[in-house]
């Protein structure tokens, strides 16, 4: 008995200690919170919807949500997430004396950068607009998330602190208040009752309006920062859709915290390109904010909207130059151009029929320049061709039989399917099966290496073939792949999964290591511009992940009858990192696969779906690998 009492007392003692520490101001503090809620909730309304599209496979999310009055005339901001179901009607319920009255709301416009929707009601009652605080709230300061989910008279609240400012690339305040459907669309207010932003689901890794909604009870919540007095808000109120402002530059560096913001590529049609920024420029400031790393660039551009003008300072040839750039809401994707030839070094080996270079360039021609760029080796030729724009006419200079010829060529968009009417290599008669023991792993990878006849040995393409996880019947696989290896002079490497049941992300490292091990053997020389990774089913899915994780290693990914997805690392399409995607699907793509295909095409990757009849998958895949480095 005494023991129980003792511990209860000890708990009470702990409270008393806390009370001494903080409750000296406790009553005052409670009053302050009450006052802030009272002040803020006048501007919070409840919103109901009727009808709409229910998401497949999910319980329909019904029920009201919140909105924040931002202008007395009847402008109300809410979270776009709550209108994701595209309802037939939207109603606003007020908390005043006519609280049973509904007001039909119309959508004025959406702010896609902040995931907000602006609504308008015609209202005869006086509305109280939320007062927004000036300047950035202080990290660690008290804040309250206010919503009207349960009741339209009394706000529901969650009390917490400002966890951070400048989140989601400088678009949101983060809080440990519980942010959920109970308060999405309501304001996050300070202890002074002034709004810091509008509560929305958000996630730094995704631009989807639902991203972050799964964090509702995790203590990670966000309020999108808006300023109803800003020029951007005036545009929204005028009915303009607000999109994030984009500069249209791509960086090669992979570490946003470390690498300088050196432009690896920008299309001449992009805002940066139009303003005169060129590749090789290093961005050192946006407006007056100093930028020394890619991450700082993203934070500086993150809060800006389409059509805003920013001053970009770049360093070029050790000198700073300033450009005024009008940001765009959408950037044309980089589309790889195709000239229609394959080369060895800079000597043309094959010309694709019906391509821009057909009947102009001939096998044996030595290419000297492409447009303004002189070329001396494959790398400089690839760089020169990949940066041209499809549809523009330019001059190629070639040497043919001791003569210099100037040819006018108009490159086209890269055709994803491998050229069908082009003869392949002469082929080999023998191939050797080589076992590769990988350090630290019980698995034995193996490779099928065609043995070329004669003195001059050509560099050979490599296809990494990922089998279905589990024990690999080497003999069967060799029997199947060897004839194609011989015909197409393609080396095939078959790594094995560490786990006997599935491919794991950890396998990527060992797959790459097995390529290095193979290319290290003295008798073999691989053509680094023709390394592809492919597989069937789960092997193909792993190939997709591996290929996009190691963009500098692979220039092609093949997936046969697997689930196509586009949630991949390094999804940036850059001229310097060619990547082609080949997909075979007997059953056709499912809904998720179709969405993924759109993503690949939007990003500008050459994407071929079922480019040959069924039964020809492997043959076509080898042909594709052989012509992988055509230009």
């Amino acid at each position: 008995m005494i023991r129980f009492a003792f511990v209860l007392i000890s708990i009470i003692q702990a409270w008393l200690v806390a009370a001494v520490l903080c409750c000296g101001q406790s009553a005052e503090y409670s009053q302050a919170i009450d006052a802030a809620i009272e002040y803020a909730q006048r501007s919070v309304v409840q919103i109901e919807t009727i009808g709409g599209v229910a998401e497949a496979g999910q319980l329909p999310v019904l029920g009201p949500f919140s909105g924040t009055v931002v202008e007395e005339s009847g402008l109300i901001l809410t979270a776009s997430f709550c209108l994701k179901h595209d309802p037939a009607s939207i109603f606003v319920r007020l908390s005043g004396k006519e609280q049973d009255k509904r007001y039909l709301a119309g959508i004025v416009a959406k702010d896609e950068s902040r995931h907000l929707t602006l609504l308008k009601i015609d209202c005869d009652e006086p509305l109280v607009a939320a007062v927004f605080g000036n300047g950035q709230p202080e990290q660690g300061s008290r804040c309250i998330a206010v919503g009207k989910y349960f009741d339209r008279q009394w706000a529901n609240v969650s009390v917490g602190v400002v966890s951070a400012t400048g989140r989601i690339w400088n678009r949101a305040v983060q809080t440990d208040c519980k942010v959920s459907r109970q308060n999405y669309g309501g304001p996050l207010v300070g202890i002074d009752g002034k709004a810091m932003g509008i509560l929305v689901p958000a996630s730094p890794g995704s631009t989807d309006v639902s991203a972050g909604a799964q964090w509702y009870d995790s203590g990670i919540g966000f309020a999108a920062v808006v300023d109803p007095k800003s020029a951007a808000f005036a545009r929204l109120a005028a009915g303009e859709r607000l999109r994030s402002g984009l500069l249209g530059v791509k960086f090669e560096g992979s570490d946003p915290n470390d690498d300088p913001a050196t432009v690896a590529f920008c299309l001449p049609t992009s805002p940066a390109g139009k303003a005169g920024i060129v590749e090789g420029d290093t961005i050192v400031a946006i407006d007056s904010e100093v930028v020394s790393r890619i991450g700082q660039f993203k934070h500086a551009i993150g809060p800006r909207y389409e059509n805003e003008i920013v001053k970009v300072t770049v360093e070029r040839d050790s000198q700073n130059r300033e450009f005024d750039v009008e940001l765009a809401g959408e950037i044309d994707p980089y589309l790889r151009p195709e000239f229609g030839f394959q080369v060895r070094g800079v000597t043309v080996a094959a010309v694709v029929p019906d391509s821009p270079c057909a009947e102009k360039v001939q096998p044996g021609d030595v290419i000297e320049s492409v447009g303004p760029s002189e070329v001396t080796d494959f790398k400089s030729l690839q760089s020169a061709t990949s940066k041209t724009i499809a549809g523009t006419t330019l001059e190629i200079v070639v040497e043919r039989d001791g003569e210099t010829l100037k040819l006018e060529v108009q490159p086209r968009n890269f055709a994803a399917s491998p050229p069908a009417d082009l003869p392949g290599p002469i082929g080999s008669e023998k191939a050797e099966v080589v076992g590769l023991e990988m350090a630290g792993s019980a698995n034995v990878c193996f490779a099928i290496v065609p043995q070329q006849d004669g003195e001059s040995k050509e560099e050979m393409p490599l296809m990494v073939w990922l089998p279905t996880p589990g024990p690999v019947l080497q003999e069967d696989l060799v029997a199947k792949l060897k004839p194609l290896c011989l015909k197409w002079n393609v080396v095939v490497l078959v790594p094995q999964s560490l786990d006997s049941e599935s491919w794991m992300p950890d396998d990527i490292e060992s797959i790459v290591a097995s390529i290095e091990k193979l290319s290290g053997s003295a008798s073999l020389s691989l053509d680094r511009s023709r390394i592809a990774i492919a597989g069937k089913g789960t092997g193909g899915e792993m190939a997709l992940l591996t290929g996009f994780s190691q963009r500098s290693k692979f220039s092609g990914v093949g997936l046969i009858d697997g689930q196509l997805g586009a949630r991949l690392p390094s999804f940036e399409n850059l001229p310097s990192q060619p990547m082609q995607v080949l997909v075979f699907s007997k059953a056709g793509l499912d809904a998720a696969g179709e969405l993924a295909r759109e993503e690949f095409e939007k990003a500008g990757f050459p994407f071929a779906l079922n480019p040959a009849a069924m039964g020809q998958e492997m043959e076509t895949t080898f042909r594709w690998v052989w012509f992988l480095n055509r230009l």
Binding site: L8, I11, C23, I50, P60, S89, R102, D151, S180
Partner: protein
């Protein structure tokens, strides 16, 4: 205090929380499968174990009272419970996840009251029958083993009893909630006085002779998607609806004050109304709202 009983299989925890509510050893807790077994054990924060006897329970409020053979223990006086409002700072004391073992006290969490509202929740697919007043909390108290825990003010006065894990009926999100002691007092008194649980008339959600759109003289657009907006498709000549002035393309916004977000909502709500009861509909016609009252009885009398 920590309560141990049946469970432990298939993800069912064999523990929950309870509080002493008198110096005679009465323990208030949540009514759950944990109490199903003979020999429910109660362990105090000092590690002292007691066999507990079930005194009684209330299945709608989902509470139970146990008795242990111990007197004079410090207890909560739930009759002196404090009412809370949104923003009230609270502490929650629970045996969440069975973290507290042996002579350890239960876990303390701190948070604030989000809202005071009617309970509207489900477990799995089933709606929870209790629909009384609850406090929604912003501390994450909806955890295994937390049911039967207590919510107090910062100075330790009792406020509410934490209920069993439930999800918001409308959004499917976990609800962190507690039932105020003011809602439980009568039931606890009844259990303590040894009376049997009143056979509460849990009103059948479905009327014996339910109302339907056809009876009222209109039809809705075909229900093709999960959330088809309830537009009136056609109005029958001489029907009650026609008499009341309902027009095709009217959108049904609420029935007797309850919002209708879809055709299914209309069917469900009308199904809960008896044929001889009047029905009040709010309609959206273009950008205006129209209120109509329909009654089958009146119409019959009129004819």
């Amino acid at each position: 205090m920590k309560i141990f009983g049946s469970g432990g299989l298939r993800g069912l925890e064999a523990y929950q929380t309870g509080i002493l509510i008198s110096d005679k050893g009465y323990v208030l807790t949540a009514w759950s499968y944990v109490l199903d077994a003979e020999g429910t054990r109660v362990v105090t924060d000092a590690g002292e174990r007691f066999e507990a006897k079930l005194v009684g329970h209330d299945s709608k409020l989902e509470i139970a009272v146990l008795k242990i053979e111990a007197e004079g223990l410090q207890h909560f006086n739930i009759e002196a419970a404090v009412e809370a409002k949104p923003g009230t700072r609270i502490r929650a004391l629970t045996n969440c996840y069975g973290v507290a073992t042996g002579d350890e006290p239960v876990s303390v969490q701190q948070g604030a009251v989000v809202a005071v509202t009617k309970f509207d929740a489900r477990r799995g697919k089933w709606k929870v029958p209790f629909d009384g007043k609850v406090l929604i909390l912003d501390a994450i108290t909806s955890n295994p083993g937390a049911a039967g825990g207590v919510v107090t003010t910062l100075d330790g006065l009792p406020v509410a009893l934490i209920g069993k894990e439930s999800r918001d009926n409308r959004t499917g999100a976990w609800l962190n909630y507690a039932v105020p002691f003011s809602e439980l007092g009568d039931a606890v008194q009844r259990i303590l006085s040894g009376k049997q649980q009143q056979q509460r008339q849990i009103s059948s959600r479905r009327s014996s002779e339910p109302m339907g759109p056809e009876l009222l003289g209109f039809s809705l657009v075909p229900d093709v998607v999960g959330r088809t907006p309830p537009f009136v498709d056609s109005v029958f000549i001489d029907g009650v609806a026609a008499e009341a002035g309902i027009l095709p393309d009217d959108l049904i916004v609420d029935i007797n004050g309850i919002a209708t977000a879809s055709c299914r909502d209309v069917a469900r709500l009308l199904g809960q109304i008896d044929r001889d009861e009047p029905v009040k509909l709010t309609l959206q016609r273009g950008s205006t709202f129209v209120s109509v009252k329909l009654s089958l009885v009146k119409s019959a009398a009129g004819n």
